[in-house]
Amino acid sequence: MNTPQTRYGNDLEAIARRARDLLAGTARWRILVEQTDTLGCLVRRGVLQPPERSARRAVLITVEEQGALGYGATTDLSADGLAQAVERARRMAAVLPARRLGAGLPADATDPVPAFVEPWADHVDMTLAERIEWLHDLEIAMAIDDRIHSRIALLETTRRERVLLDQSGREQRQIWRLCQAGLRAVAVGADGSQWRSHEHSFQGPATPEQLAALDFTRERAAALSRDALALLDAPECPTGTRDLILLPEQMTLQIHESIGHPLELDRILGDERNYAGWSFVRPEDFGTLQYGSPQLNVLFAPDEQGEFASYACDDEGLPARRTHLIRGGLLERPLGGARSAARAGLEPVACTRATSALRPPIDRMANLNIAPGEQSLGELIGGVEHGVLLGQNRSWSIDQRREKFQFGCEWGRLIEDGELQGLVRNPNYRGRTLPFWHSLDGVGSADTFQVLGLGNCGKGEPNQSIGVGHASPACRFRGIEVFGGAA
């Protein structure tokens, strides 16, 4: 009997080789073959939703003819299906060659091609039965009060393998183990609802030990419900100009929206203007624009083990290397893959990724981290006369050129005269990107540093949702406009 289990390794490489044989006579081409297997479970209010397995098995053929690219993507991996995908890629490459934007496939590989083989191959994920028990255990820990109307515990694991071949003989194989876990408690009172959540997106095995190390514990689950209940009775966040301390769980969003996206080179070149938007950054700003205060150091870090978007090569085969994007506040380089960088005349980084083999790769931010500084959290707080400490993002909005933002959090705590005070609800803050990063005057030390990630960064046409990693210490900003709820 056939087994539904994925036949890894040689199987994908065999598909790639079959496609390669069909490309005989084509000078420049690339093949990306993917197998992704996911198992997701969610417990809500004591009831497990139907567990869901899913598998993506597809191939993306890219053909270059006279500098023009054509893509053929298919889930039909039969001989006929592959032949049709190759034929469609060829046909697309031949359409309107004089009306192309320019920049074909990257130059042939000259560097040694690294492999990204999962470091956790010996670790086994929890079985379905173990996951169900683990989720119920955490979910029931949130049931501490009748006012908790919704309790959610979820766990999703993904094993993804990609094989990349191109005309230069490059053969790249990568395997990832991705895990996303989350808890949420929603408290409902006479005046509305408040919620608290805890979530992680990381690479590694889904074991109780690994998840406990990320604070997925009964104690944390119960604390989420207690915090949500406390928020029902908390005062609104005051309105006014205050200093702000953002914990890593909110810094993730701040980095993502106001550093990551503005530095994507395809945005800067204008390719995303119809959908995800443009950028205020111009190509001539690299090497000259003081993006933030001298304490701001931002790293493109695809080699950070365990972070959600780590890899050895991007989906065009460019080897990934750690590099500064912003150093001492000065903007040094964009997030531009080989194709965008060639168009802009800039040096590329390995950031061209596709959400699946059914989409062409585009510039994505991967792991984007802020380097830790010297101050403890206590020292950061101690330096604030009137301020707010904020954690866990709840709302995000920024203009299409990434300048004017407004973000909201699940919770905040006032700071007065260097001391943490009580909880406040519905905290929001707004500002403009460059003044905001120039107001950074305190960067937390390594013991405030957390590696986090987001599973659903949206961009591209056709649309692509992809995972990214962000790591940061706690950071302090001076003189920010904050406000609370109420109409």
Partner: protein, 438 residues
């Protein structure tokens, strides 16, 4: 590909034999063949074809269910048995599900239509030839979509849709832009030259120095395309029965009866007018119309099959999210909108809306496309990018002056994982006070 009927009937024949005693099998199939042309600066950035066909199998023993989704090809029927065997193992580990709901009314039906076949290539050539001197950026999509559902109980349902669409922007050198959205068959025959000419006329209005009004409250006219951005983030969970009951709905106060909209606000889910299939993923037939807001007050919630068992009510939705939200029009002629506005903000499109205070249904968003400063009923200047932050209970409540008579059908043009279905049909809204915050 554009007709899943043969596969659905084959599945309907095969599934009964694959289900053991007491088991039920449902197979939901989605397929598309899409040509895409991604455009930037009036040139082709990425051009390709996507073929996908995907099957979701649900196995139930009457007390619980488990699911498996995978990509299929011509040998799809041969992949069923091993998948079912693995699902049986999953089902054995799965506890009872009190909210399990699979439709028990088998039927055979075929619905939907594909627009007249259009080849993307000549259409694209005509578009780019006409846009050679413009700064055009966006996406053109073309091709059929198919949906289908078969079960071991005897369901055999299929639905077709798809066609050609363009979602693009035309820019000025000063970052101002107008949007061009066109979708077949909804909008009739495509004429790239006419669409571009119309867009250029609108773009000409955006020349000149942008005006940046100081933070404050302004009289404003929100075009249907602006209103859809605010409603979209609100209705994502707003009308869901499950969200309302569990504290996750930003329309909580509406359903508690402590807040409402103006008496002329009537919102409905009109699935019968959409291109989405008339059946849900678990086989349930879905009604053509649901009243959500009547005379400004709460009507029905959208009840998914699971929510119907958890909280009661009749199933009227697949997910609890509307896919064809319709707001009744009012008395204001669109042609009179500027005169009725007088002095204030004309907002053509907003973007990146998000809830800033869910309890009070307060939404923040940025201006984008076709936004103007208007004085005495005449356009004076394009607006610089501005942030608004307002409660929908105010905008569509005490601050609502009028709704436009004409309504715009706004297709969902998103394409995450697959090309979306659904639309909103909305009028414009003239409001007395819109808060501008940044």
């Amino acid at each position: 590909m554009n007709d899943l009927q043969p596969l659905i009937h084959a599945l309907a024949e095969r599934l009964p034999a694959l289900a053991s005693d007491g088991e039920t099998l449902f197979a939901y199939v989605y397929g598309e063949q899409t040509d895409f042309a991604r455009l930037s600066r009036s040139r082709i950035n990425q051009l390709g074809h996507i073929h996908q066909r995907r099957l979701t199998l649900t196995l139930s023993d009457g007390r619980a269910a488990v699911k498996d989704t995978w990509d299929i090809d011509a040998g799809a029927l041969d992949t069923l048995a091993p998948r079912i065997e693995r699902l049986r193992g999953d089902l054995a580990a799965t506890p009872d599900d009190p909210y399990l709901s699979l439709d028990a009314s088998p039927r055979t039906a075929h619905s939907g239509q594909l627009s007249a076949a259009r080849d993307l290539e000549p259409w694209l050539e005509a578009l780019l030839a006409n846009a050679a001197d413009d700064d055009l950026v966006g996406i053109a999509l073309s091709g059929p979509q198919g949906f289908g559902l078969a079960s071991s109980l005897g369901h055999a349902l299929s639905h077709r849709s798809g066609g050609l669409s363009l979602d693009a922007s035309l820019f000025t050198p000063t970052h101002q832009a107008v949007k061009i959205e066109w979708s077949a068959p909804a909008d009739g025959p495509a004429d790239p030259a006419a669409a571009l000419a119309q867009a250029r006329e609108r773009l000409a209005l955006l020349g000149g120095e942008p005006y940046a009004p100081a933070p404050g409250r302004y009289r404003a006219y929100l075009a249907p395309e602006a209103l859809t951005e605010l409603l979209g983030v609100t209705v994502w969970q707003g009308f869901s029965r499950q969200a309302v009951e569990s504290g996750n709905s930003p329309l909580d106060r509406l359903f508690r009866g402590t807040a409402g909209f103006a008496p002329n606000v009537r919102l409905r889910e009109l699935r019968e007018d959409s291109n989405a299939p008339p059946f849900g993923a678990a086989g349930h037939a879905l009604p053509g119309a649901v009243d959500l807001v009547i005379d400004g007050r709460a009507g029905d919630t959208l009840v998914s099959p699971r929510a119907a068992l958890e909280y009661g009510g009749t199933i009227n939705s697949d997910s609890g999210m509307p896919i064809a939200l319709t707001l009744d029009g009012g008395d204001l002629a669109e042609a009179d909108a500027l005169a009725a506005l007088g002095t204030g903000l004309y907002l053509g499109r907003l973007w990146y809306a998000n809830l800033s205070d869910p309890t009070h249904c307060r939404v923040t968003a940025m201006t984008r496309y076709d936004c103007f400063w208007v004085e005495d009923g005449r356009i004076r200047a394009p607006l610089a990018p501005m942030r608004i932050d307002a409660s929908l209970y105010s905008l569509l409540g005490p601050d609502l002056i009028a709704l436009s008579r004409e309504r715009h059908r706004l297709e969902d043009t998103s394409s995450y994982e697959r090309r979306a279905s659904g639309h909103q049909l909305l009028p414009g809204a003239l409001c007395a006070a819109l808060p501008v915050t940044l």
